[in-house]
Symmetry: D2
Subunit: 146 residues, 4 copies
């Protein structure tokens, strides 16, 4: 059975399981290519929960604005498919860090992607970039089994 | 050519024109039934702009929370279809008012729906219901040709 | 922990549990009103799976086209909220049937809604309304604890 | 006024104009990062229409499956913002081609992205990669002012 929530992690990263909803398909009969970016964010937030971090602290962080996002498509997902997203923390710079995602459906590689987010605080309604909190990265890495 | 924005109004109401995007279809080859609720909101906001009203005053109004929404489906929309949404102001009570929408594609009735919104202000982060501003309703009615 | 999938049923209906995704919120800080229609469909499909029915038989059924859908909003959902959707089979006519949904977050009533679907087959690319299969309704009712 | 549809092209590419819908914002008050991928596809399809090409020939082409997609975010879009997407045909290989997109709001650079699509035909329900039709690429380039 597919479960939506925190899963165990191994060396391949933190695992997030999901089932494709009907609305996520398009008239080509497959999941729309933009939806994979939503799946990546879901997996990111599941990782935050597993790390015991406050995922929704928007007022203070401005929501970790994205710098870039990309996805490489290998095999399409279809309605009701159950798939797994493995998340790992990738490259960390002074003010940004990257998530790397691998999507599989059973033994089939669905695709892989990444999101780079910048660390920021909200001051007087405006975002200001800040240094990546090392403690936070450490906890995310641990939750990802790294 | 389809245009996205303010249109003229006649006795049938304010007109909003739209073209179906690919992502709005599902694997059944038609526009997903939830999308019509998004189209209704787009038409609502186009009416606000036509009425010269501040559509995005979320900080003060809390976004006119919805009390109810419904849609009756008659004929499906498909990718690239151009359609028209006619909006009218329906029943107005002390603290809420209703929009009525009719969707057509050429001569074909696509469906009809309605949204009831409550008037509110944001005070200390919490929403409080307030009386419907009569001036606002008057301007929306005028823009809808009523 | 929130789980996405088949749940037990009691007299209140079949239960579907879900967590709010970030993308489902809007700038008012709450779940967009159109999203509840997607949640209802998710719960519908979870009920089909629980009933052992083929949920994705689009080629033959045309996807059970919706005749109408409505929702009454009581209390908003926010990011990361866990909520439960109870589904029951409502009114059944010769060629259509209704699902009734109740949304709760803990003890709080979030809202309630319904979807009426028509039974159909696809013949030569066109949909044709057919009588509601009694066997199917019986299985859905059983899965809903009715 | 913002218009949704075919626009003129200059050396910077074919221009597609759009206004941000309310549902496209998230609780951070800005357009969700996944939405830019939908905007890119809208601009792609507007280019197809401008080129006089059959945009929806899904039965035959399988919908030009995406190989990869990416976006770099520079400045956020907010509700009701009017913005412009410039599209150009980028790198063309034997069996795939790339669209390059630049998003601007007035003089502000919103971001830029690309989509690589593979050419395919549908045979017996399965997709098969085919050589890029040179005639089609020529028409898209012309419509993009290249």
């Amino acid at each position: 059975m597919s479960q939506d929530g925190a899963q165990e992690a191994d060396h391949a990263g933190f695992k997030y399981n999901r089932r494709v909803y009907f609305v996520e398909t398009d008239m080509a009969g497959i999941v729309h290519f933009s939806t994979y970016f939503r799946y990546m964010e879901e997996a990111e937030h599941a990782l935050w929960r597993a790390a015991g971090l406050q995922v929704a602290n928007i007022e203070k962080t401005g929501g970790w604005p994205r710098v870039s996002a990309s996805f490489d498509y290998k095999s399409p997902l279809r309605f009701d498919d159950e798939f797994e997203v493995a998340v790992r923390i990738g490259n960390v710079t002074r003010r940004s860090f990257r998530y790397d995602f691998t999507f599989t459906r059973g033994d089939v590689l669905v695709g892989s992607g990444s999101i780079t987010a910048v660390c920021s605080t909200k001051e007087g309604g405006r975002l200001r970039a800040v240094d990546v909190p090392q403690e936070m990265i450490a906890r995310l890495r641990t939750a990802a089994g790294q």
